[in-house]
Amino acid sequence: MTDTVLKLGKYEFKSRLFVGTGKYQTLDLMKEALEASGAEVITVAVRRANIGCKPGESLLDYIDKDKYTILPNTAGCYSADEAVRTAFLAREMGISDLIKLEVLGDKNTLLPDPVGTLEATETLVKEGFTVLVYTSDDPIIAKRLEDAGATSVMPAGAPIGSGQGILNPNNIRIILETLSVPIIVDAGVGTASDVTAAMELGCVGVLLNTGIAGAKDPVQMAKAMKLACESGRLAYLSGRIPKKLYANASSPLKDF
């Protein structure tokens, strides 16, 4: 069975794993992990440039722009206005109109503010951005974000950086049944099986950062995540057997 490409608005990707660039000990290690992950889309954050000292090497020096599509995020924004402002600055970097929209509601949980997220989605869609929006796994707000014009809705499997995996697969399942835009699990992934679980549910992709960057061997974990993503996708496309309460022998029971 051959898989189709993943379409997000006008963009097309073969890889379904999206990886972040944060928390790496060195930029060289990040570069190697990005390569091992096979990801085509990588996320970056927008921050004030440091004017206190001479700028060191730029993150962008380590990212081959012919190879990767850069997905800037609005991480760290706690209001729709702030997120919209950040999105405009990101677009001004001249790389693309893609934006991973995050409007956070609280510093401890890093859970999204649903009202601010919806407001910012409406504004950015009107302004011509391709909006990939981070949200909770609540199916109602997910649907509202789709209605607002988001290109992809990206529910968290678990809180950002928590590594808890897909805490409520039933909600993800309802989101997948209710929405028609591509669903990408964003955040909470701790290990390879979490990625597989998301893909087996029918998500079109998984976005993660800490699960790779925080692993003892990030490069090896990146490879594990890549295989897990492909594996889960293949299993989803293959159609798993239904779960049954009783046994069903694999070997013939008669004619010994």
Binding site: G20, T21, G22, K23, Y24, M30, T43, V44, A45, V46, R47, R48, A49, I51, K54, P55, S58, L59, L60, I70, P72, N73, A75, R85, F88, L89, A90, E92, M93, G94, I160, G161, A187, L207, L208, N209, T210, A213
Partner: protein
């Protein structure tokens, strides 16, 4: 003249262009986006944009993130 750059007050000579200011901090123009008094300045205008007393600049760049 006083210019606020990323929240810090800095002194520049009158007639300094945005391009010159960025250069003074060793910023690579390709790697930054700039707001002048909360309005984005397109990169193509960096060299012609002359700064005036009390301008406020916000200079951002991409950093690692998820």
């Amino acid at each position: 003249m006083q210019i606020t750059v990323n929240g810090e007050n800095k002194e520049f000579s009158t007639g300094t262009s945005l391009s010159e200011l960025l250069k003074s901090f060793d910023f690579d123009e390709r790697y930054v986006a700039v707001e002048l008094n909360r309005k984005i300045v397109p990169r193509v205008q960096f060299s012609e944009k002359l700064l005036v007393e009390n301008d406020t600049l916000e200079i951002v760049t991409f950093v690692g993130g998820g």
